[in-house]
C-alpha cells in the first residue's frame, strides 16, 4: 500500500489516546517502512491504530497482514535486512509462536522494534497482563524495556529506534507494555511534531550490512559450531555498548523534547531515604506510588524503584538505589517455576545484582498481579508491612510471598 503522507502537525499536539495508539503515533513519526500485522490481544490495538493512520493518509508504510505471528516476525526480519525501518509485535502465546524468528534476530543484528502487549501465557485463555511472555527474550540478545504510561510508550518507541539502529548496537528492542492497564487506557499524550523527531532520529542506515545487489553479501549462511561462540561474544559486546548509547539517546531526547530527563534506567520514587523499597516494572507503579505516599503519611519510610530497562540490566543503578535500604521487596508480575528460593524472575536478577555489595539489603520476592489480577493498595500495604518487619528484626522469615492469591 502506498498513500502519500499528509504533512504532520507543526506544533506538539495533545491527544487522548491509549498506550497502543501512542506507539502508533511514534511509528508514524519514525517513518517506519514496513509493519506486519497478525491479531492477538492486547497488542492488536497497535496494528489497528497503524492501519487507521495509513488509511487516513497520515502515514506511508507497507502494511503486511501475515499468516501467523511467526511469519510476521520473519517478514520484518528480512525487510530490516534490506534497509527498512520495521515494526512488529505480539502478545502472550502469539509472541511465543514467533519465538523461532525472534530468537535468531539478535545474531543477525537486525534492529527491529517490537511491542509485547504483555499477556498471560494461556491456558486458560487468559487475556490479562503477565510478564513471562516478554521475559522469554531476556537471555536471547534482545534489549528489553518496560513502559509505565502512554507518554512513556511513545517516547520509548522513538528512543528504541534510535538505540537499536545505532551502528554500535544493531540489536532488536522489545517494549513491554502491560496489557489492558497500558495498552487499552486512554490518557492525554503529548505527540511531538515531526521536525523534532527528525532531529532526534536519524535515518536507518545499515551500512555494509545492507542486503542489496550493489553490496554483495550473504547473511546467515549455515556455519558450523566453530563460529557460534564468536557470534555470541559479538552480541555480548553490542549489548555492553548499549548502556552508553541508551544514555546518549535519553540525553538528546531530553534536550529536544524536554521530557525523559533523569536516569533512563530506573525511576526512583521516595527511595532516597527509604528503609524499605518496593521494586518492580510496568504499570504497577500507580498503586505502589499511591501506597508509598499513604505509608509515608503514617511515618513509614517506604520507597519505590521502577526498573525501566531489563536488558541491558542497569546493575550500577540497581545497586545504588537499593543498597541504602534495609529490605527490598521485588514485585514480579511473572514467575520462574522452580527457581532459586522459588522466587520470580526480577527477584533473582536483583538479588544477583546486589550480591557483590559489601552491605546488601534483604531481598524478598513478591509474586503479585499474575494474569491481569490487580495489584491493589492493600497488596502494597501488605508487602510494605512484611518489608518493614524484616527491616526491624533483620530476619527473613520467608523469602517468597504470593500476594493476592486465593486461599
Amino acid at each position: 500500500m502506498s498513500v502519500s503522507t499528509k504533512a504532520a502537525p507543526a506544533a506538539d499536539q495533545e491527544m487522548l489516546i491509549s498506550g497502543c495508539a501512542a506507539i502508533a503515533q511514534a511509528l508514524r513519526l519514525s517513518d517506519i517502512d514496513v509493519v506486519t500485522a497478525y491479531p492477538i490481544r492486547p497488542y492488536d490495538t497497535v496494528m489497528q491504530a497503524v492501519a487507521k493512520l495509513i488509511s487516513n493518509g497520515e502515514m506511508d508504510a507497507e502494511y503486511i497482514v501475515a499468516a501467523s505471528e511467526h511469519d510476521q516476525f520473519e517478514i520484518v526480519k528480512h525487510a530490516s535486512a534490506v534497509g527498512a525501518r520495521v515494526f512488529c509485535g505480539s502478545s502472550g502465546v502469539g509472541w511465543m509462536y514467533a519465538m523461532e524468528a525472534i530468537a535468531v534476530t539478535p545474531a543477525l543484528r537486525l534492529p527491529m522494534v517490537a511491542l509485547v502487549g504483555n499477556r498471560a501465557l494461556d491456558d486458560p485463555g487468559a487475556f490479562g497482563c503477565e510478564h513471562n511472555d516478554a521475559l522469554c527474550v531476556r537471555d536471547l540478545g534482545w534489549m528489553l524495556t518496560w513502559v509505565d504510561t502512554a507518554q512513556e510508550a511513545l517516547d520509548t518507541a522513538l528512543i528504541a529506534y534510535r538505540v537499536a539502529e545505532d551502528r554500535r548496537i544493531f540489536l532488536p528492542c522489545a517494549i513491554g507494555a502491560d496489557g489492558a492497564f497500558l495498552t487499552h487506557s486512554e490518557v492525554l499524550v503529548k505527540v511531538p511534531n515531526k521536525e523534532k523527531v527528525d532531529q532526534f532520529l536519524p535515518k536507518y542506515d545499515r551500512g555494509d550490512k545492507m542486503l542489496h545487489p550493489d553490496n554483495p553479501i550473504t547473511i546467515a549462511p549455515q556455519v558450523n559450531e566453530d563460529w557460534v561462540m564468536e557470534i555470541r561474544k559479538q552480541n555480548d559486546e553490542a549489548m555492553r555498548r548499549a548502556r552508553g548509547v541508551i544514555q546518549e539517546a535519553y540525553r538528546d531526547f531530553h534536550k529536544i523534547f524536554g521530557r525523559q530527563g533523569g536516569n533512563p534506567f530506573v525511576e526512583s520514587y521516595m527511595a532516597e531515604d527509604a528503609d524499605v523499597i518496593l521494586f518492580g516494572q510496568g504499570t504497577l507503579s500507580l498503586p505502589v506510588k499511591v501506597g508509598v505516599r499513604k505509608l509515608r503519611e503514617q511515618g513509614h519510610k517506604v520507597g519505590f524503584v521502577r526498573l525501566r530497562w531489563l536488558r541491558p540490566f542497569p546493575t550500577p543503578e540497581v545497586q545504588e538505589t537499593l543498597s541504602r535500604a534495609k529490605a527490598v521487596g521485588v514485585i514480579d508480575r511473572d514467575y520462574s517455576f522452580g527457581s532459586p528460593n522459588h522466587g520470580a524472575v526480577l527477584y533473582n536478577e536483583v538479588r544477583s545484582a546486589l550480591y557483590d555489595l559489601p552491605k546488601r539489603p534483604h531481598v524478598i520476592s513478591f509474586v503479585c498481579g499474575l494474569g491481569g489480577r490487580e495489584v491493589t493498595l492493600d497488596s502494597v500495604t501488605e508487602m510494605s508491612e512484611i518489608l518493614l518487619k524484616v527491616a526491624k528484626t533483620g530476619k527473613v522469615e520467608q523469602p517468597n510471598y504470593w500476594i493476592g492469591v486465593r486461599g
Binding site: 543477525l108 550490512k209 550473504t218 549462511p221 558450523n224 553490542a238
Partner: protein, 385 residues
C-alpha cells in the same frame, strides 16, 4: 588400559555402518568386563551426501579411566582409524575441522589406519599424507560399502571391520569377545565367520615417516571474534576471477577457504575434443566448478568439485563427461591444462580413465538399481574363497 577407535565414514551413505562398528567395539569390550562408549560427532552438513563424518569408540578397564580419557571432545590418539571408504585416504574435512585433515591425523604414533578397499596398500599410500611418526596401513579387501539414502545394506562390512580390529588392536578388543558380541547382537553365525575371516586375512604394513603423500594438506586460521563481521554477514566474493597462467577465460568467484574435494567419491573427466561448448555443465553445476577456458571449454576445477555427477547427467554429448572413481586420480590438477600441453597424452590418459570405468564405478544406491546386489555377490565371493 584405554583403547580408542575412530571410524571415518561418508555421511548418510555410511552413517549406520559407522555406528554399528563403534557399537560393536563397545559390546565386545563389555564381554571382557570392560567399559566403553560409542559416539558420533556431527554437524548438519557432515551428515549430508557423502560428506566425511566420524564415529568413535573408546574402551577402558574402568569408569575412571574412561572418564579421564573422555575429558576432551574428540579422541586425538586413536589405536585404529577406520576409513570405510578408501577415497577418504585423501584426507577429510570432517566435523569442526577446517582445512584438510589427513586420514592418519588422529591415529596415534604406531597406530593403524584400516581401510576397506580393492586397492593395494601401495596404491593407497600415494593418497595418505605423511606422518612424523611410524604408523601402519591395513587394507581389508572390499568395495565401498555404499547404499541408498538412509538405507543400510547389510554386506558384512561392519563385522569384517570388527574382526580386523581384533587382529590389529587386540588390546582394544579380542576376537573371542567380538564373536560373542556378534552372536548376541546379530544372532548370525555367517557374520561370525565373516569377522573371523577378516581377522585371519587382514595384514598391516608398516609405514615410515618418509612414505606417503608428501603434500601439505591445506589449512587456514579461524577468525577471532573481533575479526568476524557482525550480524552473520559474509562478504560476497568477486563474481569472476582471472585464472593464473591463462590468457583469457575466467573462473567464477569462489571462496578460497571453502574447498569441497574431500566430499568426492567420483569426479568428472571431460573429453574436450567432442565437447560442443553448449554450456549446460557450466550452468547446472551446483558448485560453480567449471572454469571457462580461453578456448571456451569448461574445465571442472577439482578443488571445488564435490563429485555430485550433475554435469555428467546434463551433458548431451555421449561420453563427453564421465564420472570416474576418485581413487583413480592422484591429484587435483587441471584436465584442460593437461589437454593443452599435450593432446595425445591427454587422449590416452582420458581413454585409460574411462575404459577403467566398468571396474572402478561406484554405486550411490539410487544411481544404478541392482548394482549393489551384484557388488554384494562379488564381495561374498571374495570373502568365502
Amino acid at each position: 588400559m584405554t583403547g580408542s577407535i575412530e571410524v571415518v565414514y561418508r555421511g548418510i551413505f555410511q552413517k549406520t555402518l559407522g555406528q554399528r562398528i563403534t557399537r560393536g567395539i563397545v559390546l565386545a569390550a563389555v564381554k571382557e568386563g570392560r567399559v566403553g562408549i560409542s559416539f558420533g560427532r556431527y554437524g548438519d552438513s557432515p551428515e549430508r551426501n557423502g560428506i566425511p563424518a566420524k564415529s568413535f569408540a573408546v574402551v577402558a578397564d574402568n569408569e575412571e579411566d574412561l572418564q579421564t580419557y573422555l575429558s576432551r571432545y574428540e579422541p586425538t590418539d586413536n589405536d585404529v582409524t577406520v576409513a570405510v571408504d578408501d577415497t577418504l585416504c585423501k584426507g577429510v574435512e570432517s566435523w569442526a575441522w577446517y582445512g584438510l585433515q589427513p586420514i592418519n591425523k588422529l591415529t596415534r604414533s604406531g597406530g593403524v589406519v584400516l581401510t576397506t578397499s580393492m586397492q593395494s596398500p601401495e596404491e593407497l599410500l600415494e593418497d595418505c599424507h605423511r606422518k612424523d611418526t611410524e604408523w601402519s596401513l591395513a587394507v581389508l579387501k572390499g568395495i565401498a560399502s555404499f547404499s541408498g539414502l538412509w538405507v543400510y545394506k547389510d554386506d558384512h562390512t561392519d563385522v569384517r571391520v570388527l574382526g580386523a580390529i581384533a587382529r590389529l588392536a587386540p588390546h582394544v578388543v579380542k576376537l573371542e569377545s567380538v564373536e560373542a558380541a556378534i552372536r548376541d547382537e546379530w544372532n548370525d553365525e555367517l557374520k561370525v565367520t565373516s569377522a573371523r575371516k577378516a581377522y585371519e586375512r587382514v595384514e598391516a604394513r608398516k609405514v615410515r615417516p618418509d612414505e606417503g603423500n608428501p603434500e601439505r594438506p591445506y589449512e587456514f586460521q579461524l577468525p577471532k571474534w573481533w575479526e568476524m563481521k557482525e550480524g552473520l554477514v559474509i562478504p560476497g566474493i568477486p563474481v569472476q576471477q582471472d585464472v593464473e597462467g591463462w590468457e583469457g577465460g575466467y573462473r567464477p568467484g569462489r571462496n578460497p577457504t571453502f574447498k569441497k574435494f574431500a566430499t568426492r567419491t567420483m569426479r568428472p573427466v571431460v573429453d574436450f575434443e567432442i565437447c560442443t561448448k553448449c554450456t549446460l555443465c557450466w550452468l547446472q553445476c551446483p558448485d560453480s566448478c567449471f572454469d571457462v577456458t580461453p578456448t571456451g571449454h569448461y574445465d571442472a576445477n577439482m578443488e571445488a568439485c564435490c563429485g555430485c555427477g550433475v554435469c555428467e547427467a546434463v551433458c548431451p554429448v555421449e561420453n563427453c563427461i564421465t564420472m570416474v572413481n576418485e581413487s583413480a586420480f592422484g591429484d587435483n590438477a587441471s584436465q584442460f591444462e593437461m589437454y593443452e600441453k599435450d593432446k595425445d597424452t591427454y587422449k590416452s590418459w582420458l581413454k585409460g580413465k574411462i575404459e577403467d570405468k566398468a571396474t572402478t564405478d561406484r554405486t550411490h544406491g539410487f544411481q544404478l538399481r541392482g548394482k549393489y546386489e551384484e557388488e554384494v555377490q562379488e564381495i561374498i565371493r571374495e570373502v568365502t574363497k
